[in-house]
Amino acid sequence: MRLRTNVLRIAVVLGAFLAVELLSRIGAIPRVMMIPPSEMLIALVRLLLSGRMNVHIAITLRNVGIALTSALLLGFVGGVVVHALPRLRRILDPLFASYYSIPIFVFYPLFIVIFGMGSIPLIIMGFLSAVVAMVINTLNGLDRVPRVFRKTAQVFQMTRARAVCLIILPAAAANIFTGIKLAVAYAFIGVIAAEFILSGGGIGYQISFTYYAFDNNTMYALILLILVLVTVINMSLYVWERRLLTRMGRR
C-alpha cells in the first residue's frame, strides 16, 4: 500500500514535470516567461559545476542555519518556560495565536536602520519567522504529556531533571518534531524572502538580480535549487518523523 502511494506520488511529480516540459516545448508557455524544466535542470548542474554561485549558496545556508538554530533553541527554551509559568502563558497565548497574521517583512526598514544591510537583519527575519512555531509546538507537546508519566517518574524516584530528559521530552517529541519541521520551512522562507529586499548576496538576492537581468536560465536554476534543497530537508525530516510516530503508535 505504502509502495503504491510512493509510486503514485512520484508519478504525480513526474507528470507535472513532463506536462510543463511539453507546454514549454510547444510554445504554450513562452520562453520569456518560463524555460522548460529540463533546461532548468541542465542550468542548475552547470551552475553548481561552475561554482560561481557557491558564495551565495553558502551565505544563504549560513544565515538559515544561524536563524534556525537560534529559533529552535530559544523556541524550545521559551516553550518550556512558558509552560512552567501558567500566568505568563495566559498573557502570551493570544499573542502566539495571532502571531502569524503579522507580516514580519513590514519591519524591514526598521531592521535596516538598526542593523544595517548585513546578514543580521536577514537572520532576524528568519528567526522571527521560525521561533514562534517552535514555541507553540513545544507547548503543545508538553501539554500532551500524560499526567501518569509524571507520576511514574515520581514512583521511580527520579529527579526533576532526569524526569524531563528521560520521560517528559521523549513523550513530547512528536509535537516538538512538528515544531522543528515548521521552523525549518519558516526559516528558509524568512531568510530567502529577506534576501530579495535586504541583501547584496545569497540565493534570494541572486534570484532577484537575475530576474531584473533577464537571465532566465540562472534564475530558474536557483529556484530549482531552493526547491530541491527544501524538499530534501523536508523529506528527511518527514521520514524521521514517520519513524518516530510509528513507534509512538500515532500513525
Partner: protein, 265 residues
C-alpha cells in the same frame, strides 16, 4: 503483635479551594493497617477518594492530616523504596520497546546489566510477553500494555504494590485472566498488595480483605475478610460463598453509591 506493614492513622486529605470552588474534603479521617503479604482491596463509590488514598500511601500526595508509615517509617511527599505503583491509565512509554520499558526503573536505579537482563527475562516470561519483548507498546493490546506496566513494577521487586484500577479498561474475560496472573504474582513475590477497584467481583475474588469506603469524604465503613485460601484463582467466582461476599459488599455500598450519585447531581 508485629507492626503492620502499612499503617494509616487519622489520615485525611483536603484539596485547597480555588477562586471558583471551596476546599474539597476528599478523604478521611481514616485508619487502616495492612499486614505483610496481605492482599487488600478497596471499593467505594465514584469520587469517594480511592485514588487519593492510594496516592497518599504511595507518597505521591501529602495527607492534610494524620500519619502514614511503611515498614515503620513515615511516608511523606516521596515514594519510599520498596513501593511500586501500577496506574489505571496506560503508563507504558511508547518510545521504548517492551523490554526497555520493563528495564526502565532498573536502569535508573543503577542495577547492573546482567541482573537487569535476568529480571527482565523473567518478567517477560512470567507475564506472557516473551514473543513481544522487542515490540513497541503501540503494537500491543490494552491488556498487554497493562502487563508491561505490571512487569515494570514487578522487576523492581517491591515489597508493597499499589494498584489503581489496573484492569479498568479491560473486558470482563481479560480482567478475570489478569486477576489470575495478579494472584500468581502475589503468591510468588510475597508482596503486600493494595488494589483500588470499582468492580466488586474483582475485589471479592482477589483480596484477603476488602475495605468498603463511604461516599466523599471517603472513610472505611467496613472491612470485610473474604476467607479465601492463599491458593486461589478466578474459578472461585463460581462458588456460592463468592456470591455471598459480593452480595454483602453491595449491600454495604448501595446506599453510599446512591449518596455519591445525588452529590454529583
Amino acid at each position: 503483635m508485629s507492626q503492620p506493614h502499612v499503617a494509616l492513622t487519622n489520615v485525611s486529605r483536603v484539596y485547597p479551594g480555588t477562586r471558583n470552588q471551596g476546599p474539597v474534603h476528599a478523604l478521611g479521617p481514616l485508619d487502616l493497617e495492612l499486614w505483610k503479604g496481605e492482599f487488600f482491596s478497596v471499593v467505594g463509590p465514584s469520587g469517594c477518594g480511592k485514588s487519593t488514598l492510594l496516592e497518599v500511601i504511595a507518597g505521591l500526595a501529602l495527607a492534610s492530616e494524620g500519619t502514614i508509615t511503611f515498614e515503620g517509617a513515615p511516608v511523606a511527599a516521596r515514594v519510599p523504596d520498596g513501593v511500586g505503583v501500577v496506574f489505571q491509565e496506560d503508563a507504558s512509554f511508547p518510545w521504548l520497546t517492551v523490554q526497555d520499558n520493563i528495564a526502565f526503573g532498573l536502569r535508573r536505579a543503577g542495577v547492573d546489566a546482567e541482573e537487569i537482563a535476568k529480571r527482565v527475562n523473567y518478567a517477560v516470561t512470567f507475564m506472557g510477553l516473551k514473543a513481544f519483548a522487542r515490540a513497541y507498546p503501540a503494537q500491543l493490546s490494552g491488556g498487554m500494555r497493562q502487563r508491561v506496566c505490571i512487569a515494570r513494577t514487578l522487576v523492581m521487586q517491591p515489597r508493597l504494590i499499589l494498584l489503581d484500577e489496573p484492569f479498568g479498561a479491560l473486558d470482563q474475560q481479560t480482567r478475570l485472566l489478569m486477576g489470575d496472573e495478579l494472584l500468581r504474582l502475589w503468591r510468588e513475590t510475597g508482596a503486600t498488595i493494595l488494589l483500588i477497584t470499582h468492580a466488586l467481583d474483582e475485589a471479592a475474588m482477589l483480596a484477603d480483605r476488602v475495605g468498603v469506603m463511604s461516599a466523599r469524604p471517603g472513610r472505611f465503613i467496613d472491612i470485610l475478610p473474604t476467607g479465601w485460601p492463599r491458593e486461589r484463582d478466578s474459578l472461585i467466582v463460581a462458588r456460592q460463598e463468592f456470591g455471598q461476599v459480593t452480595g454483602h459488599l453491595w449491600s454495604l455500598l448501595r446506599g453510599e453509591s446512591l449518596k455519591a450519585l445525588q452529590n454529583d447531581q
